[in-house]
């Protein structure tokens, strides 16, 4: 932050120390608590072993915590500036996955950048919100109500969603569309337009069905009728429900979940980790975790409502909504309320890129908080060297 020659209109440049004081450390502690719950469950999932998941989960978290603070302290106008470039770089990576990606679990999702393997679709969940926030920041409410102005943001949402759908990753594609939709809503797009799109989507459903892969069709069919595939996904859901239900109010106790420890539970370290928690800690533990998330979401709302720049408002709430969808879809899925889609529980599930996404999101939310008094002109930052 040193070395920038900033000429602020209203808020003067803050020193690093000032910024550090502005960071809401209670929320950072809350985030640590979530990761701690994750590590505990991963320890249990490996039958009381730090290896292979819990230890790496904590190391990743520690590294990413530094990143989170770094993001929070970076001037929000830098994020404003880099919103489009970040988005388009991610989009290029997504296209790259099409041609050079590694196939894992039957879908092309990973790209090898030499140093790390990355899931561009995960990164897109953040950069899409950045780009949309950047775009709607520059529109007045009247502009937003003109359909022509919605073409570009529609492209911003549909291009990556289409690419991700082709990988094929139905869950992430749906997440992108939901996050995009949330930003459209927050930006002030008329409600009837949403109804129109929803009606259109409903009408297109039979057509879309034919483009789904067989395993995706199976998942939806299984969801609608679990007995149609009791050996595949239906079996998983049945087992997951048994695990959840058998946990009761207070759970079976840490490391005591029979369903998970006897391997009845699939993917217990990633998608079904909530089931494990609910089996071992019961409804109390499950509601406790949901409560922790709820606190984070409330904080996200508070940040958004108190930001004095529209970009910050949209960014903070967009990312909060994004995280909310993660949590909701994952938990609803393991309870058999939604079809099985590969969506992890932020900070709790094992997985590097998902954690990177979550930590970056939290970092940006904190960043909006730290820089809440900075105003960014609607026409952008022309002339200002950032």
């Amino acid at each position: 932050m040193a070395g920038y020659n900033l000429s602020f209109r209203r808020a003067p440049s803050m020193s690093l120390l000032q910024k550090l004081l502005q960071v809401n450390w209670a929320i950072v502690l809350l985030i640590c608590a979530l990761a701690g719950v994750g590590a505990g469950m991963l320890y249990s999932a490996a039958n009381a072993n730090m290896d292979p998941w819990a230890e790496r989960h904590l190391i990743r978290f520690a590294v990413l915590l530094v990143l989170l603070i770094g993001i929070a302290l970076t001037d929000i106008r830098i994020w404003f500036r880099f919103a489009y470039p970040a988005y388009f770089i991610t989009l290029i990576l997504l296209v790259g996955v099409e041609f050079k990606g590694t196939v894992g679990m039957g879908a092309q999702r990973w790209i090898d950048l030499g140093v790390i393997q990355l899931q561009p679709s995960e990164v897109m969940k953040v950069t899409l919100v950045l780009a949309l926030a950047r775009y709607f920041h520059s529109l007045s409410l009247e502009d937003v109500r003109r359909p022509l102005y919605l073409l570009f943001p529609l492209f911003l949402v549909l291009a990556p969603a289409g690419l991700v759908l082709k990988q094929p990753d139905l869950g992430t594609a749906a997440m992108l569309v939901l996050a995009g939709g949330a930003l459209f809503l927050l930006a002030g797009v008329r409600l009837w337009k949403f109804l129109l799109v929803a009606a259109g989507a409903g009408a297109a459903l039979p057509v879309a069905w034919n483009f789904l892969h067989q395993y995706q069709k199976n998942r939806v069919l299984t969801f609608l009728d679990p007995s149609s595939d009791p050996l595949g996904a239906g079996y998983h859901i049945t087992q997951s429900k048994i695990a959840l239900g058998s946990g009761g109010v207070f759970g079976r106790g840490f490391l005591e979940g029979t369903q998970s420890h006897l391997n009845f539970l699939p993917e217990k370290q990633t998608d079904f980790i909530f089931t494990m928690l609910a089996e071992e800690f019961g409804m109390v533990g499950a509601l406790g975790l949901i409560g922790l998330y709820l606190l984070v979401f409330i904080y996200g709302f508070a940040v958004a409502l108190t930001s004095s720049n529209h970009f910050g408002r949209l960014l903070a709430l967009g990312l909060t909504v994004n995280l909310f969808f993660y949590v909701f879809i994952n938990i609803a899925m393991v309870m058999g309320l939604l079809p099985v889609v590969g969506i992890p529980l932020p900070l709790v599930s094992y997985g590097g890129t998902a954690m990177l996404t979550a930590m970056t999101s939290f970092g940006l939310i904190l960043c909006v908080r730290v820089h809440r008094d900075i105003s960014i002109p609607r026409r952008g930052l022309q002339g200002e060297v950032v």
Partner: protein
């Protein structure tokens, strides 16, 4: 300035309203999660706790009924037979020996069976059924049922076994099913059922997935040791699809009977326009049912080691030098390179190239020959001459268009590619430059070249249909799924042959059979309107040395079988409105005209008589019958 501020305020207000809207939606959604948690973990907790603690849900699969294989007229070629098996549950039998003794009065049990049953019982938990004997007669089944009081724990289970009514006649096409091996496991749980059979060869293998169907399953609750407590749900399986072949079983039977007298031979009858294989025979054959039952290792060894290789489908995987049947390809290449059919070559009975002399099959020579005569009398020197002018690569490129040197894509396993040599091929694989003399040998279908009987039939079909690259196939349709004959018809690309040139070749093939001095004149079809056209081929399996030639060529009949020539013939009928094509290869049979052509004649007569494609004009006598 103030306008901008109002705008900004409006925007913020709208944002706040929308944010609250979104917020309440979220709270609503989270309450749904909470309610669901309450339902699962409080209301239904006891039920799930029981399920988790004392019971596990277990799946019992039931095998789907395998689809039938039928011919184009609906005749069943592979069917399922009800197969009754006796099972024994040790726990209910109490005294196993006593029960087995009682059972021996009804069905024959040798000591081997008893040892196996006792071993299986010892290996499993006492409530798991053990198979005692299968393939019971109905009489035995009913006697077990009547005596059930004396046979505690014994019950009869109905299973399915595959049956091939036509046995060896169809073994190479229909194939057989067999036990699932380690490599076959794909994760489909039905494959792990004890006694499940999957296609191992032929159509059974190619269309295994369609024939297999989907397993039914029963979800049962089992307790901690695996005993069934209660049935939760039952989903009936989906039977496999029937597969309809292009074969005409009557023709297939006839062809098999006609060929069975030869030691080792194969023949194909095909529709030139659709690629429907009407008959495909390879002798000797084997009994596919033996594989379904399970083959003893000595039987297996004798099949594999048989020098006549009954397991191999020679019609698609036998590779032979095509001999003179290749001359049509050379002629086509010549005409495309502007060597007209009227150009004449003088045949003195040999041709010298370098310091080597290449002989015509006819020692005295044929005299002046143009293309039609050269094909009709199979003059070698004529083809030496034009091949020398064309060069090997021009010939090879036409041969590839006609289907040689690659698989033609029939829907049966283990089709071979044959071999179509080129200059590059020789340099890469033998490491030597191509010799001019090798081009001459190639022109009469000898040398490096290898072709399958299927490729010969396909070449003939592509002539007859005017240059459509049809793909031969034995599957006509998968009932209720797809129509393969239609698909093939639509996807056949045009080879770009000139109609007049093709016509002149077909005309020469007509002459081969129906004009005096034609090499297949003695095997011609006498029935008016049913005449065939064709081309003979006799391919040497050894080189005739100069000293042998000097001593006079030994007649084939006087040679040991292994050293005799292969007899080949390709033909089509009816000659004036061609529809059906046929290729015949008799291994070490002798002359193409004397051995292969009569077989092809009989097959083509029978084909036209049965007329599976409804292509023949109604007989002029038909109206006079009454």
């Amino acid at each position: 300035m103030s306008r901008a501020r109002t705008e900004e305020q409006n925007r913020q207000k709208s944002f706040t309203r929308r944010a609250l809207l979104l917020g309440s939606a979220k709270v609503g959604l989270l309450s749904v999660l909470g309610a669901r948690l309450y339902y699962l973990q409080v209301v239904d907790a006891e039920r799930y706790r029981l399920l988790a603690e004392d019971n596990r849900i277990s799946m019992r699969l039931s095998a789907p009924r395998r689809g039938r294989i039928i011919d184009r007229n609906g005749i069943a070629l592979a069917v399922n037979r009800q197969n009754y098996q006796v099972h024994l549950v040790a726990e209910q039998a109490q005294d196993v020996d006593q029960t087995l003794d009682a059972l021996t009065h009804i069905i024959h049990l040798d000591s081997e069976d008893r040892v196996r049953v006792k071993r299986d019982i010892a290996a499993r938990r006492s409530f798991v059924p053990v198979r005692v004997k299968d393939n019971l007669t109905w009489d035995q089944v009913s006697r077990i049922a009547v005596n059930s009081v004396e046979l505690p724990g014994v019950f009869v289970e109905a299973g399915q076994s595959r049956h091939y009514p036509y046995g060896p006649t169809l073994a190479h096409i229909v194939g057989y099913v067999g036990a699932v091996s380690e490599q076959d496991l794909t994760g489909d749980p039905v494959l792990e059922l004890p006694g499940f059979r999957i296609g191992k060869n032929g159509i059974e293998k190619v269309h295994d997935e369609e024939l297999r169907g989907r397993a039914g399953n029963t979800q049962v609750e089992v307790n901690a040791v695996g005993r069934v407590m209660q049935q939760i749900s039952r989903v009936e399986g989906q039977p496999g699809h029937d597969v309809e072949l292009t074969l005409d079983m009557g023709l297939q039977n006839y062809a098999h009977q006609r060929l069975i007298g030869e030691r080792s031979a194969s023949a194909i009858v095909m529709d030139a326009f659709t690629g429907d294989v009407l008959s495909l025979v390879s002798v000797p054959s084997y009994d596919p049912s033996a594989f379904t039952r399970g083959l003893s290792s000595s039987d297996w060894r004798s099949l594999v080691e048989d020098p006549l290789s009954p397991l191999s489908n020679k019609a698609i995987s036998g590779q032979y030098a095509p001999g003179s049947t290749f001359k049509m390809v050379v002629s086509l290449a010549a005409m495309e390179h502007h060597i007209g059919p009227q150009e004449e070559v003088y045949c003195p009975g040999y041709m010298d190239l370098g310091n080597h002399r290449f002989h015509c099959w006819r020692r005295g020579g044929h005299g002046r020959m143009h293309m039609r005569d050269a094909i009709k009398q199979s003059c070698d020197v004529y083809f030496y001459d034009i091949a020398k002018r064309l060069g090997i690569d021009a010939i090879a490129s036409m041969a590839r268009r006609m289907g040689f040197g690659q698989t033609v894509g029939i829907d049966l396993p283990s089709e071979r590619t044959g071999l179509m040599p080129t200059e590059d091929w020789k340099l890469a694989n033998i490491g030597e430059r191509w010799q001019g003399g090798e081009t001459l040998i190639q022109a009469i279908g000898q040398g490096y070249m290898l072709a399958t009987p299927l490729q010969l039939a396909v070449m003939t079909a592509r002539l007859v249909n005017g240059g459509k690259a049809i793909r031969p196939h034995v599957t006509r349709r998968i009932v209720g799924v797809e129509n393969i004959t239609e698909e093939v018809k639509e996807e056949s690309p045009d080879l770009g042959l000139m109609p007049l040139q093709v016509k002149s070749i077909l005309d020469a093939m007509d002459a081969v059979c129906n004009e005096q001095r034609g090499t297949a004149y003695s095997a011609r079809i006498h029935l008016p309107g049913w005449e065939m056209g064709g081309k003979t081929g006799t391919s040497q399996v050894r080189r005739i040395t100069a000293s042998e030639r000097a001593a006079g060529i030994v007649r084939n009949e006087d040679l040991p079988w292994r050293r005799r020539d292969h007899a080949l013939f390709v033909g089509y009928a009816p000659v004036h409105n061609p529809r059906y094509v046929c290729s015949v290869v008799v291994e070490h049979g002798g002359g193409g005209g004397s051995v292969a052509a009569p077989i092809a004649r009989d097959l083509l007569i029978e084909t036209q008589r049965r007329d599976p494609m409804d292509a023949m004009p109604p007989s002029p006598l038909a109206g006079l019958k009454e």
